[in-house]
């Protein structure tokens, strides 16, 4: 395809397509792969969010953590992947407590 025929990058459209595709694909792929799609969606947030939002230190750190760990833990074992997801959730819970004035 010629350069002229190429469309402009559209990360939000790509992200929405990824979500819709994953929603349908989840019915075929099984729970672990479906879970991986969700974590992948989390790790892709920096691609679509404005810098003002993604510069939030927690979101920056957690999306980077999700991005680093998603494939390594998934490929290592089910147990490693579950441990990785629990760690993400624990970090969110700690942040929620902080943001809601509980710590």
């Amino acid at each position: 395809m010629s350069k002229e025929g190429e469309s402009k990058p559209d990360p939000i459209f790509d992200y929405a397509t990824f979500l819709a595709n994953s929603a349908r694909g989840s019915l075929e792929e099984g729970v672990f792969s479906s879970s991986l799609r969700l974590i992948d969606a989390l790790s892709r947030l920096p691609q679509i969010l404005p810098e003002s939002i993604i510069s939030d230190p927690f979101l920056k750190e957690i999306t980077e953590f999700a991005n680093r760990g998603k494939t390594t833990s998934f490929l290592e074992s089910r147990e490693a992947y579950i441990k990785f997801l629990d760690e993400i959730l624990k970090r969110f819970a700690q942040e929620i407590k902080k943001r809601n004035g509980l710590t």
Partner: protein, 178 residues
């Protein structure tokens, strides 16, 4: 305050998913807890605990971690099982039977709530990692039920009633219609 007969409460009970902001008074909460405590536990073992949550910050935190908790109630009653005590006192089956006992206490709460003009419903959380952190719950405890409680929002008509076909009853053996 209404005082219903048991069967009236059974007939009237519906899952509530929209609540007013009116707080639930402490004496009403005590009645709900009394109802909950009247449910059985296997061997009377002391492994079922209740956590009453009325701090809006804690409710918000739990809602943020619990996708099935769609409502924004003024009160949560959380039924948790101490699995260490359950298994020690009643054997390995307790990991499963604790769910039954939690469900029994939860149903008592729903019926008592109906009797007291309150709305409530069952919700469950499949993953413990986040909620343990919020509730500062030791790792051998499991959250079995999260029950939102409150006065139904004006205009709330109640959830769709399950069809009769949802409950099948047989006589003496499977397949023999009762």
């Amino acid at each position: 305050m209404s005082q219903l007969e048991t069967f009236d409460a059974l007939a009237k009970r519906r899952a509530c998913r929209e609540y007013s902001r009116e707080p639930v008074k402490p004496e009403i909460i005590e009645k709900l807890l009394y109802a909950a405590s009247r449910a059985p536990t296997a061997c009377n073992a002391p492994y079922r605990h209740f956590i009453v949550v009325d701090d809006p910050r804690v409710i918000k935190s739990i809602r943020q971690l619990s996708p099935s908790l769609l409502a924004d109630p003024p009160l949560l009653i959380i039924v948790v099982a101490d699995l260490k005590v359950a298994v020690q006192d009643t054997g390995p089956l307790a990991e499963f039977s604790a769910y039954v006992d939690s469900g029994a206490s939860g149903q008592n709460i729903l019926l008592a709530a109906t009797d007291l003009g309150l709305g409530a419903q069952f919700t469950m959380i499949p993953v413990m990692a986040g909620i343990r952190e919020i509730l500062e719950l030791p790792s051998h405890f499991r959250v079995d039920l999260i029950i939102p409680v409150g006065y139904p929002k004006q205009g709330w008509k109640g959830s769709i009633r399950a069809p009769k076909s949802a409950n099948k009853v047989y006589h003496n053996r499977y397949g023999e219609i009762h």
